[in-house]
């Protein structure tokens, strides 16, 4: 469903090289790696947001619907939550259902700036799901939330993923705990130039533990 083949991608002081991988329906990928290594750039490349990809970079997407939960909510500040979701083509019925799912039923007529950080991120998540995506991209969805809110949102995302078994996900994070909660597959981006040092499927928490231990070995090495 998604094929990534990037020989070399240099963008914004970030160099990513030699990436060869596929994402299949139901894959929940957590993309880990040190900060500034190019995780977001790679995610942007998948989303088609890196202008003029070099010719040797292939981001193959068979006509999939793609949603992107950016780090900032990126809702239009002059439109209410409902209007923002309607703009991506959702019916009022769908909007009501999704806002209930993310616990924002009361705030459908609020402007984004009236919401707290966590609420705005959940509103943006509802907008992502409104297009019924085949692939959901998330860039540090738990960043700058306090621990309690982060746990809530992690649980919410896991619930929403379970209800959509065919939906794939790529989630950029720097916290292995996110991977433990959400991922069935782990990417680890590192090196100079950066490449996928790890691309492993995870079956069960035990395996993840082993993998994370190996990962720590990599990080420390």
């Amino acid at each position: 469903m998604l094929e990534l083949r990037i020989d070399r991608l240099a963008y914004d002081k970030v160099v990513v090289e030699n990436i060869r991988t596929r994402v299949m329906p139901g894959d929940h990928v957590c993309l880990l790696g040190p900060s500034g290594i190019g995780k977001t750039t790679l995610l942007n490349a998948v989303a088609g947001l890196v202008p003029r990809l070099p010719e040797n970079a292939v981001v193959g997407r068979d006509r999939i619907r793609l949603a992107y939960l950016f780090q900032e909510h990126r809702l239009l500040p002059w439109r209410t939550v409902r209007q923002n979701i309607r703009l991506v083509g959702a019916s009022d019925e769908t909007i009501d259902r999704l806002l209930a799912d993310v616990g924002l039923s009361e705030h459908s007529e609020s402007l984004p700036d009236q919401l707290s950080l966590g609420m705005a991120r959940r509103a943006a998540l509802a907008r992502c799901l409104a297009i019924e995506p085949d692939l959901l991209l998330m860039d540090e969805p738990f960043a700058s939330l306090d621990a309690e809110r982060a746990t809530e949102l992690r649980y919410l995302i896991r619930t929403l993923l379970t209800r959509r078994p065919r939906m794939a996900m790529i989630c950029v994070t720097h916290d292995p705990a996110d991977a433990a909660e959400l991922a069935n597959r782990l990417w680890y981006l590192d090196g100079a130039p950066a490449t996928l040092r790890w691309d492993e499927r995870i079956n069960g928490v035990g395996e993840l533990g082993t993998l994370l231990d190996r990962l720590r070995g990599v990080v420390l090495a």
Binding site: N44, A47, G48, L49, L66, A67, Y68, F70, E72, R74, L76, P77, W78, R79, L87, V88, L111, P112, D113, Q114, L115, S116, L117, M119, R127, I131
Partner: protein, 264 residues
């Protein structure tokens, strides 16, 4: 108690009547001076009011005012449309900006009078030349303002619009217009003031109607009362446009700015 606290905490309240100090004071000084000097070169406010009434009763004022307003409106719409399109284009494409910028600087510095004379010489004393001269004078200003606006467009919202496949129409209406609105308002305000001044010059030099033409006629017989009557009426009309049209529009379009911030 709590009320007084609120008042002191916020910015000092501006009372309604504070806006009505300067203009009546000017009027009083004018009246005193005019009575003191007692010369036809500085008519009293009453003389000017009488001149305005005379011109209104004869239908002259309404006719010429209408003609000038029409010219202002047409030139304004054309200049805003062209300037906005060009400004946004140049703001978003650096290469286009590099090519067009010298041209923009040239037209910015081209004196209004030169444009007007040249167009009258080339096309004759016709309406098209008059309107075109005003538009050519105003477009560069609008372009510069809107280019700034386009440069300040939030790239993060552009990416959002890319990901969700916004149509061009949606992008303009939902993403760009709200961000460009302050720049459009600035261009509009400056635009109206500048355009009506240029329109008067255009009329004075080559039209046989409009306020500029009437001012020219009054100037030839040193009829200062009529000159002031026409000018003041037009200033009042422009003020009316500001109060009735622009201010409500601005309040409506920027309402979202004042509602937000409860949590942020």
């Amino acid at each position: 108690m709590s009320r007084s606290l609120v008042t002191t905490a916020s910015s000092p309240p501006v009372r309604f009547w504070t806006r009505w100090i300067a203009l009546p004071a000017l009027l009083a000084i004018w009246a005193l001076l005019a009575h003191g000097l007692a010369t036809p070169l500085l008519p009293t406010p009453v003389d000017v009011a009488q001149a305005a009434w005379r011109e209104t009763a004869s239908g002259e004022l309404v006719h010429h005012l209408g003609v000038t307003l029409w010219r202002v409106a047409i030139s304004f719409v054309l200049a805003m449309a062209l300037g906005t399109g060009l400004g946004v284009f140049m703001g978003r494409h650096t290469s286009a900006n590099a090519v067009l910028d010298p041209l923009l600087v040239f037209f910015l510095n081209l004196p209004a009078l030169v444009t007007i004379i040249l167009l009258y010489v080339w096309f004759g004393l016709v309406e098209t030349a008059a309107i075109l001269a005003v538009v050519i004078n105003k477009v560069p200003n609008v372009t510069v303002t809107l280019r700034e606006g386009a440069r300040s467009l939030d790239g993060r919202l552009e990416q959002m619009a890319d990901v969700y496949g916004f149509t061009f129409g949606q992008r303009v209406r939902e993403v760009w217009l709200p961000q460009l609105f302050p720049y459009l308002m600035a261009a509009t305000r400056g635009g109206l003031a500048l355009i009506w001044k240029i329109v008067l010059v255009v009329e004075l030099l080559g039209r046989s109607d409009g306020i500029g033409f009437k001012l020219h006629m009054a100037f030839q017989v040193f009829d200062v009362a009529t000159i002031l009557a026409y000018s003041l009426v037009f200033i009042a009309v422009v003020q009316l446009v500001e109060i009735v049209l622009l201010q409500p529009l601005e309040r409506r379009a920027s309402a979202w700015r004042h509602i937000g911030g409860a949590h942020a």
